[in-house]
Symmetry: C2
Subunit: 482 residues, 2 copies
């Protein structure tokens, strides 16, 4: 099947999926969990094939770790599915209800977006998480995983499709909405989940804005930029994560040190790890030596914590950095501006450092003269992802929060908190630096849009125009489902 056919089938499936009832979707999720358990032997041995191949190709240890999909990982994704079943159905919610006139009622009702194209790397658990999130929100999904996980992804997609698409649907024409009735009985419309396998497939997918409504890319910065630059389909996500911690003149220095170290070191390969410290000149002399020794002390054990992110794993996907887990340098390398270097002995920072996402045990430090200078630096060099201020001055905090143009602006806490799991979103689709639709950590609601349903009894616009026009009442009414 070529990619256009695949996308057409996904589009047709998405139309039907939008109307599938909550219990059918939850039942399908339960079927997936069951099938994963039943097929765990097959899945693990497919993964072992991938692992053996990867070892032959000298994949780095951290990448091998991500690729591994054993019984424990299967147990984890099943637990994820079980909590997803418990979440409210986000589809069919009335967001606004207005009486336009007697017997003419308008409902703004949440609905799925349609067909989502998702491109992810390495970790096969991402396939299960993403496809079940799409199912719960009623979206069809086209998935492209990393080539090193080919065998694992293939068996997972097979198991999920078989568990959700009933035979009745399988035997009829999936591209026609005639299956509507059968789909409700037997399961989900065939083709709601499909796997793409080659880079060429991805390139072709980017042109199919007629059938694909949203692309969520997760991977290296270059890869995400490539996607954004080569498609008319809306893209949800982020490329770089150049995050800052600004230590204000009114900061409690011990807290500032703790937050700086956590933001940089707690998991250096994450997109929400800090890359640059901005330090107010008034406290630089006192703060910089403290933070230097803390960063150097911490550096040594900071490479052991990536498992801390397993709870919020989709995000970890975008943060692969072999060096991060390697044991090359046990200390944090500090690169400072001239003013920093006048206080502590560190390497010099160049202009390039301010816009570099290290994803490693490296941090750049700049001394600023004012809060405004800090804000300007962040808005200019940052990636509008996550930026924190440490300060006890409420006015400074308020200004920072208002003028820093980032998805996440934090006060007196670590940048590492910006994450769907930590935010309590229930599930994370990704982290977005978009200025429309969804920003920051995105939960299920990022996979939804709405439609307007207007229910009348024969009204026409001619009666509401001209000199004897009827008047609209425009009265808010109870948000019941139409």
């Amino acid at each position: 099947m070529d990619i256009v056919e695949i996308a057409q089938i996904a589009k047709a499936a998405s139309i039907q999926l939008a109307a599938v009832k909550t219990d059918v979707k939850n039942n399908a999720l339960a079927e997936i969990a069951k099938a994963l358990k039943q097929n765990s032997g097959k899945i693990v041995s497919a993964n072992e094939k991938d692992l053996a191949e990867a070892q032959k190709n000298n994949l780095s240890a951290p990448l091998l770790k991500r690729l591994k999909f054993d019984e424990n990982k299967i147990t984890d994704v099943i637990a994820g599915i079980e909590s997803l079943i418990k979440l409210d159905d986000p589809v069919g919610k009335t967001l606004l209800a207005t009486e336009l006139d007697r017997g003419l009622e308008l409902y703004k009702v949440s609905c799925p977006i349609g067909v989502i194209g998702i491109i992810f790397e390495s970790r096969p658990d991402a396939l299960v998480q993403i496809s079940t999130l799409c199912l719960k929100s009623g979206n069809a999904v086209l998935l492209k995983g990393g080539s090193e996980a080919t065998n694992t992804n293939r068996i997972l997609a097979e198991v999920i499709s078989e568990a959700t698409c009933g035979e009745l649907v399988e035997s009829s024409d999936p591209a026609s909405s005639k299956d509507y009735a059968e789909a409700k009985k037997a399961g989900l419309p065939k083709g709601w989940l499909q796997l793409l396998e080659t880079r060429q497939d991805v390139a072709e997918m980017l042109a199919l804005d007629e059938y694909i409504d949203l692309i969520i890319p997760r991977g290296s910065n270059e890869f995400v930029h490539y996607i954004m630059d080569n498609t008319n389909i809306p893209v949800l996500g982020h490329a770089e994560g150049i995050c800052h911690v600004y230590i204000d003149s009114y900061a409690t220095l011990d807290m500032a040190v703790k937050i700086a170290v956590d933001s940089k070191c707690q998991y250096v390969a994450a997109c929400n790890a800090a890359e640059t410290l901005l330090v107010h000149s008034k406290i630089a002399k006192e703060f910089l030596p403290k933070v230097k020794s803390a960063l150097q002390e911490k550096g040594a054990d900071s490479t052991s914590s990536p498992q801390a992110d397993s709870t919020s794993s989709p995000q970890a996907d975008s943060t692969s950095s072999p060096q991060a887990d390697s044991t090359g340098s046990p200390q944090v390398e500090i690169r400072g501006c001239e003013k920093t270097k006048a206080i502590i002995d560190v390497k010099p920072a160049t202009e390039e450092d301010w816009s570099t996402e290290y994803l490693d045990l490296i941090i750049s430090i700049k001394v600023v003269e004012t809060l405004d200078e800090a804000i300007e630096h962040i808005n200019r060099y940052g990636s509008h992802h996550t930026d924190a201020i440490v300060s006890d001055d409420r006015d400074a905090v308020r200004k920072f929060m208002a003028l820093v143009d980032s998805a996440n602006v934090f006060w007196n806490c670590s940048t590492r908190f910006s994450d769907g799991y930590r935010f309590g979103l229930g599930a994370e689709v990704g982290i977005s630096t978009n200025k429309i639709h969804a920003r920051g950590p995105v939960g299920l609601e990022g996979l939804l849009i709405y439609k307007w349903q207007l229910l009348g009894i024969g009204q026409i616009v001619a009666d509401y125009s001209g000199p004897r026009a009827k008047k609209f009442t425009h009265r808010r009414i109870d948000r019941r489902k139409p």
Copy 2:
């Protein structure tokens, strides 16, 4: 000034504008209203220059009518500004508040998108409406109007800029956030509104995704497609409006005739006017002769009602069709499929007709055998804008509403209701067929996004991971502003 500088200044202004308080914005709106009144003489004479030039260039009568900006129009836009002042400030609303742990509180707070690029045609009142909507929502705006309105647009932009940007700001460096304090005192940051004047400016603007966050194009289909195909900046809007009315087998025929006629004829140049009737074969024999004579009767006077749209004028912008107001054909031309032609004597419809937006007194009719066929036709040939079903069968209605993949799905009423004013949205930014961010008629909320503000007392992520991890509380809290 070149377009990059203009965009940079707008970006800097947008950062400050995001933090401007409600009363400052409302005061600025009142200043605009006052200045428009005071400068009405200058505005009208600039408009007279444009009108004279347009007459020399043989602009059609309807376009001249759109171009005209006299005392009455000024009174209208001032009334619009006064009702905008009364609307709640949409910025700074807490959309969600969650305690992550004791002393660690997360707020999802509405904020402006940033810099909006708006391209509109002909009507100078659109400039005032759009820029005041952007002001209320805290967005900077780059405007490009139709070249035939150059003089009017220029004076309007001047009057609005002067009324809103205080002298203090004017004399300082607008590209720096150092003006923050002055901006609050004196007015709005200089450069929050700027006018582009050439097509070349627009072409260059499309490349500036670093500074411009959203483009709203209003104009001909070709023009909107050109914008969509030539920028990485998100675009909010619609190109075609190919709307359908489906007459189900269980329709009340008199109601169906009334709705079909209104949807087609009430204002043929509007994007929400119907282009195609789908008629269930069971009632075709009875319905088609009725609708034919009603359409032919109505056609004669349907060209006189475009003023009915003056209340919801931004939308009317996208619907310029000289023929619509001309008096070439007083009757509705009907083009039917084979089955239609077997019942009523009409011209034949070709495949092309099903995907044509006539914007004129022409309608195509297709007889369908099933509800599914109607739904498939709409999803295939429609533009996902507005589609209506006329039926007394609740099951058919429910299925139609669920499976028709359009921004607006209507039951027993005219497609012409899909409009921000009629929906009671207070103000209309445009009508969107996007599947993300905002769909259908878009009010002020389409110009807003949100940021996440996390307020802590020194928390770090290391304490929430590992074997002795602290637990998150994830408790919904009162939605008070942080």
